[in-house]
């Protein structure tokens, strides 16, 4: 059975992109969220196997969302999506419990590599 993944990014474009990469590789999209706040809500609803989380988002950024998700479920697996120049934020997310990170612009094989390492 395909693993359930939740995508969180404020750009529809990015969500679409990741979604296609993942579904082509046999993963199922559990939910999509356009900001951190929604991500936390939806995490509670669908309990995905993995979350791909953008860092820079309106309403609530990815790091705060990560912390809240971790508070709800300590075993939550979250991979951060960052852009170049966000090193400190990525480190902060790793400290807060992110498993891995991928850097925009995305390369499909990198995304899959990270996802595979996280949930197989």
């Amino acid at each position: 059975m395909g693993k359930n993944i939740m995508i969180c990014d404020d750009a529809v474009f990015m969500r679409m992109m990741i979604k296609n990469i993942l579904t082509k590789n046999g993963y199922t999209i559990a939910a999509e969220a356009e900001n951190g706040l929604k991500a936390v809500e939806k995490y509670k609803e669908v309990s995905p196997d993995l979350v791909l989380m953008d860092i820079t988002m309106p309403e609530m950024d990815g790091i705060e969302a990560l912390k809240r998700i971790k508070a709800i479920d300590d075993n939550a697996k979250v991979i951060m999506c960052s852009a170049m120049g966000q090193q400190a934020m990525v480190i902060e997310s790793i400290q807060s419990g992110a498993m891995d990170f991928i850097v925009k612009p995305f390369q499909a094989d990198r995304v899959i590599e990270a996802v595979k390492k996280a949930i197989g």
């Binding site: 750009a11 474009f13 992109m17 820079t56 309106p58 950024d61 790091i63 090193q87 612009p105």
Partner: protein, 706 residues
Amino acid sequence: MDVSQYLDLFIDETREHIQSLNDNILLLEQEPENMDTINEIFRAAHSLKGMSGTMGYVRMQKLTHDLENVFSEVRSGNMKVSSKLIDIMFRALDAIEAYLQTIVDTSTEGTEDNQDIIDDLNKVLKEGTAQDKEEETQEQATLTAAASSGTGGYEDIPIDEFLRGAIEDAKEDNMTVFGLTVTLDDNCMLKGARAFLVLRALEGVGELMKAVPDVDSIENEEFENSFSLLVVTDQPMEAVKGVVENVSEIKNVRIGQVTADAVKQAKKEEPKPAPAAVKEAPQAQETGSGNNAADNNASAKETETAKDASKDNKAGHKEGGKSQGTRSIRVDIEKLDNLMNMVSELVIAKNGLSTVVGRLKTGSRQINERIEYLENITTNLHEAVMKVRMVPIDSVVSRFPRMIRDLSRKLDKKMELVMTGEDTELDRTVIDELGDPLMHILRNSADHGIESAQVRAELGKPEVGTISLNAYQAGNNVIIEVSDDGGGVNVEKVKSKALSKGLITQEHADTMSDDEAVGLLFMPGFSTADKISDVSGRGVGLDVVKSKIESLGGTVECKSALHKGSTFIITLPLTLAIMQSLLVDIGGEKYAMPLSNIQTIEEIPVDMVKSINSSEVIELRGRVIPLFRLAEILECEKGEESEVLTVIVANKGEKLGAFVVDGLYEQQEIVIKSLGKYVDAGKLIIGATILGDGEVSLILDATVLI
């Protein structure tokens, strides 16, 4: 990776970001310190960079990257917003828009590098952050040293007394000490964070004794591609290696056991701490002073701003964001047209049904109830479909503040645009056509209306001229008013101009009211500007605006007061397809008149009709209103003269007209069907409709007679 499938989405979303940038930069010009605005701009530039990079538009990515860089500095308070910066930003924005246009047209970004804009951006960046220069140079020095220290393997790690003690302790506890040299992928980005992941992974299996460069430097990306570690663990070598290799983007891991012998050797070789740094120093001078140092410097700066950024973000979401995207789907307008058409047919069918039932006379209460229910539903359905087609005029007017700003610079006049009611909605087909006429009127106000600051000062007006655009809904119409507090229309000048162009006669000019004179502005071939500027007055005048608005079923009029300003009032119908109408009898035939501009229906005794200048008028509540006998105008068969006239009073803007009809039927929702271009019925007849009984009736827009 094939990205063409994302192109549409990319284009749509890029457009949104460009608009957001446009709005926010304008806002920033007003409030250079507004942190929310700065954050918004940063975020939009950031998203654009990520999106264009993913699509492989490298030039666009480069430009947005530099834009983001500048804002990153502004955001962290290292730089102030200057008017120069705003100008460059607008240029950059135009360039991004040009990229987008090229992408829309050709699916490639073209070959324009916009190097001049990039250079200017970087220049501004340099100037703006000049005060931090000294600090940076210092930083650079320490960085150069640090950068060099990562190049050796774990064998070169200097071991001091403390470490040696720790290694011996470990051996006694049956633990092993491994030395690791981890090399990251060449194209790995955010190396610092990647290395940090490695450190975290190792913490799971053992304890980190020593890292070269030290942990802080690793986190700050102050190393080349590799770093070395000493780890004490009770796990076998393979397990330790495996943990590290499981981290993504690792090129290779070199691992070996570190023993007391090796320690001794190291000690003999170099007793002082940090030999690696010393040993590598000459090499660092060769390469480090060049590109590497600069790179490292940049990355350190980036890290710094990123830290600030994360702080800002935290502050941001506490206040609660404002820019929440609306949930929407995109639908082809043709599908909506089709839907509207079918709803129209449904309305016709419903009208037919209720007519038949009405004729039955024996219809039971039950049938009537159901017909009423059906009527309710079709009306609601019609409204719902209409709403789907409605778009806020925001999509048209949002580009105007920028335009006025540019005009203000170009014309060297001070002015500002105040807009209200941008959320007023209009039918999509109307919106699409509305942009040009509105732009023309605004340009007109900016060019001809607003005076130069000097003249304004002499007249005792505020130096900055105001142009306002107000939109609001009134009944079935939407009104858009564009007013300025400029010079107003010089009636005498207009008259003499019209005379010289042969548009009116001298006699006509003398008897003309001021309002009529202002109306001359809308005549074809009229342009009052003394000199032709490239802003307005290119020969295409307000007559084009007028015909455009009229083709949309609307009207435009102008009110003006000399030295006080002018107001253009555009009235547009909410929708073009279905409307409420009044069915009237003229010469024995049924005509439909739009209900939206009917004011009152009056019974007027024949002897109340007066004659002024050989045209008929009536006096109603203190106003003199011209009277039109529709039967005569339409050349219908004349009915019997009655003692009392049934008169419909309708308005066109501020003007009223009284229309004589022979009788009234009822109010009905009608579907407008075009007569096609082969029937030139003049503007009086705007279309036809099918009534409930299958009869065809013409739709009269009598107000054109006024």
